[in-house]
Symmetry: C2
Subunit: 477 residues, 2 copies
């Protein structure tokens, strides 16, 4: 039958799962079917922030609690006490007591289980030093559905615009496209370590206004994806002031709040920054997105997360609630996990030492991997790479030779995608082309996660370096 699809869907692209990844999956199948069919023996996925797919173990305490909540019969059996830490057992009891009827298999309140939202609100208060209201929290199946929900609410017509960083995580461009709005780009300054500069924001805002676009919100990703920068507090204050003055909703993607690798930077939530400036509920609308997929825990497959909304009228809150209720509720295991990451074991708890050791090992290893990869990229001819202060990515810039750019065009490829495709076919390494995130026209980048296990990093660097030398030789001007 003939079939027409509406244009938003056709226009929506999702680079981190796009063409290169599809090719990688095909090559992996080749390797399984015919070992030796390619000049590498495995695919090295550096395309997506998916730590456990690359061998990172889950945090034991979190999984103990999840298993006990999934099968509470275990709590009644004395044999279980040899298999689980005592605080995981206590925590599971506490969580079950927070769930009406202890029914982990029941639809919950559309915003998420109230007791779990209480725990999350306490975690936010402990983090920020400012009050948090459990009624402001909406639990979601990961951060993405929360972003979609806000875009659906904010975008009324094709004249509504959302200010988004470039480069950006393609969830934003995809969601704005799907909901029929306009992405108004503001460029991060690569020269100043992907700085978010207010004059650029103002320039883009005025430009959009002059085209008749109604600006609704500003997206900030901090720590940055794909760019890895951590915003200084003073910069965050300027951003808050800008949103306040322009009446923009501040959509703060804060899913990497636990991933910071440099001692001179610290995470500050935008809500904390705005409250520190004396702005309250009536002054500014801030939405903070959090996820169980990132942090040191990296529980992507569990699809847990929340967003906290402050500074919205009760009328708008009711609309958000109604949107949430159309999908009934987010998955309860993900809800439990969201409460756990916001209230992990504390000093004195049975699990604390092993928990802390697991967390510390993951984060210090990520910091080492970020540094090692950054240094390796900076040694490549024509490549410069800012450091990853946070998040899970490096976003090096590559000066592609003209011949490479022409060869790419000859096969209808974007030049950075051409580079990534050649890299994949020669080495099995999967990077995402910068064009999937947006970049200053005429510049080329790629995104590389810092997530391959540490023992694989030397091989990645060796293979990449060799490939890069050959590539530059081949396409030398």
């Amino acid at each position: 039958m003939t079939f027409c699809l509406f244009f938003q869907v056709l226009n929506c692209e999702y680079a981190v799962r796009g063409e290169i990844v599809t090719l990688a999956q095909k090559l992996q199948q080749d390797l399984q079917a015919n070992p030796g069919s390619h000049p590498f023996d495995e695919i090295l996925y550096c395309n997506i922030g998916n730590p456990q797919s690359l061998g990172q173990y889950p945090i034991t305490f979190f999984r103990e609690v999840l298993a006990l909540c999934d099968h509470p019969t275990l709590l009644d059996k004395s044999d279980s006490h040899g298999l689980f830490s005592s605080d995981s057992i206590e925590r599971a009891w506490r969580i079950l007591d927070q769930i009406p009827g202890r029914a982990t298999g029941a639809y919950s309140h559309s915003q998420g289980i109230k007791g779990l939202r209480d725990t999350i609100a306490s975690g936010i208060e402990a983090r920020d030093g400012f009050p948090a209201d459990p009624n402001d929290i909406f639990l979601t199946d990961g951060a993405s559905p929360g972003v979609h929900m806000m875009m659906q609410l904010l975008i009324r017509s094709e004249n509504d615009g959302i200010l988004c960083p470039i480069p950006q995580y393609p969830l934003y461009s995809a969601s704005i496209t799907l909901h029929g709005g306009k992405l108004v780009p503001y460029y991060l300054n690569e020269e100043t370590g992907w700085g978010l500069e207010i004059p650029e924001l103002k320039k883009q805002l005025e430009d959009a206004k002059s085209k008749g676009i109604n600006l609704r919100a500003l997206v900030v990703i901090n720590p940055g994806n794909p760019t890895g920068q951590v915003l200084p507090k003073e910069n965050q204050q300027e951003i808050v002031k800008f949103c306040k003055e322009e009446g923009l909703v501040l959509l703060a993607d804060e899913v990497y709040q636990e991933n910071i690798y440099v001692p001179e930077k610290k995470f500050h939530s935008f809500k904390k920054v705005s409250r520190s400036m004396g702005y309250g509920e009536n002054d500014i609308s801030v939405v903070s997105f959090q996820s169980v997929s990132k942090g040191y825990y990296g529980e992507c497959g569990k699809r847990g997360g929340y967003f906290e909304v402050t500074g919205f009228s009760s009328e708008v809150r009711e609309q958000i609630y109604k949107m949430a209720s159309v999908n009934l509720c987010s998955n309860v295991s993900g809800q439990i996990l969201a409460s756990l990451v916001m209230s992990p074991p504390e000093v004195g708890d049975d699990s604390y030492e092993s928990y802390f050791a697991e967390k510390d090992e993951i984060l210090t290893s990520m910091a080492r991997r970020a540094k090692t990869l950054e240094e390796a990229f900076n040694k490549l001819e024509g490549v410069t790479c800012n450091k990853a202060e946070g998040a899970m990515y490096l976003f090096p810039r590559i000066q592609l030779p003209n011949k490479a750019i022409e060869s790419a065009k000859a096969e209808n490829s974007v030049p950075d995608a051409f580079y990534c495709k050649q890299l994949l076919q020669a080495t099995g390494i999967v990077f995402v082309p910068g064009s999937g995130f947006g970049q200053v026209p005429g510049t080329w980048h790629f995104r590389c996660t810092i997530l391959p296990q540490e023992e694989k990093i030397p091989a990645i660097i060796t293979r990449l370096t060799k490939f890069h030398e050959n590539f530059m030789d081949q396409f030398h001007d």
Copy 2:
């Protein structure tokens, strides 16, 4: 700040979580704060198909497997063998082997883990006797996101229409509204046990066409929600023929396929029916929605489900894949559960007897509850109720006295909502007004689930009967 919301969100209503339920939650808080503050001591939720919230236990085998997959370390410990059935341990190993890297905390393939889709495809083949392709299966966080995805794909403009039963489950009206399309109603015939009659379909189709609406798809809910009928196979054949002739996508909501209570009826999937008629991939587009929330298992909080798409071009399939990839993947526990409900323990497995006993007890009890409630409704003055052949609901019709209708209007209430509100305030029983599902204008209904535990049914009937007598006395013409 002032805030405008786009009209689709404002227009979208969700009765099963609407005004009456909000009132019930308020009354429940009252009762907790001030016991004795209302003429009942508990709220009896009959508003939503959420079995475990009302005390139904999860199926042990499913939860054993989930706990083992959540915390696979248990599999290595000999103590676990005393705590888990041997086939749950085997199954957990098998599932972990199907997950790349055994990483239950990793994002999966956007359609869901391939090995689990293989299992589901085998389950569909065993059910239908026709081949099923794992690449046709998209795992989702419950059935609702799958329905939204299809609506987003099908609806291109406000002139695109979707044929929906009236009464219908409000997911459909909400989703069509959110995506900016037109719900084209077809009425089920209450006189013939909520019959789905082809002349009515044709009439509504012609009427919509004459108004310039492009019809895209037909929604059929079988077994019916809120109406509880199970379609006869011959009727399904007529429906398939109608879709084939009119070039409509058949959206088959088959989430109650395990919930059938009368020996003379059997579930036939629409794919099976169309294949039995000799229609293949090139003849008709069928989408079948399934969920872990319904059936005898009722795992609503786990948010698992899938849809199977057949008869779409590869171009459209790619668009569906792209949509799925924007949210990365559905939750892995829900994916595992979806594979389990499509491949439960078999004769000879360690768990089989206890599994079968649990399943049988739930389904036979539901059948008894359906019958008892149906009989009770039919004894009420002015109430007639078709039997629930399947699903989880009864949808009785009530002839409201004129005085009641006038009193409702005087307080700006819809008459059936007025009845349900009075019932709630007098008895604590929560029904959903028929107006939330749609009904023939001038008729009034309410939906009641068959899910309260069996020992509570007599009290529900006694309280309802007493309330109803008083209500009819009070508003007698």
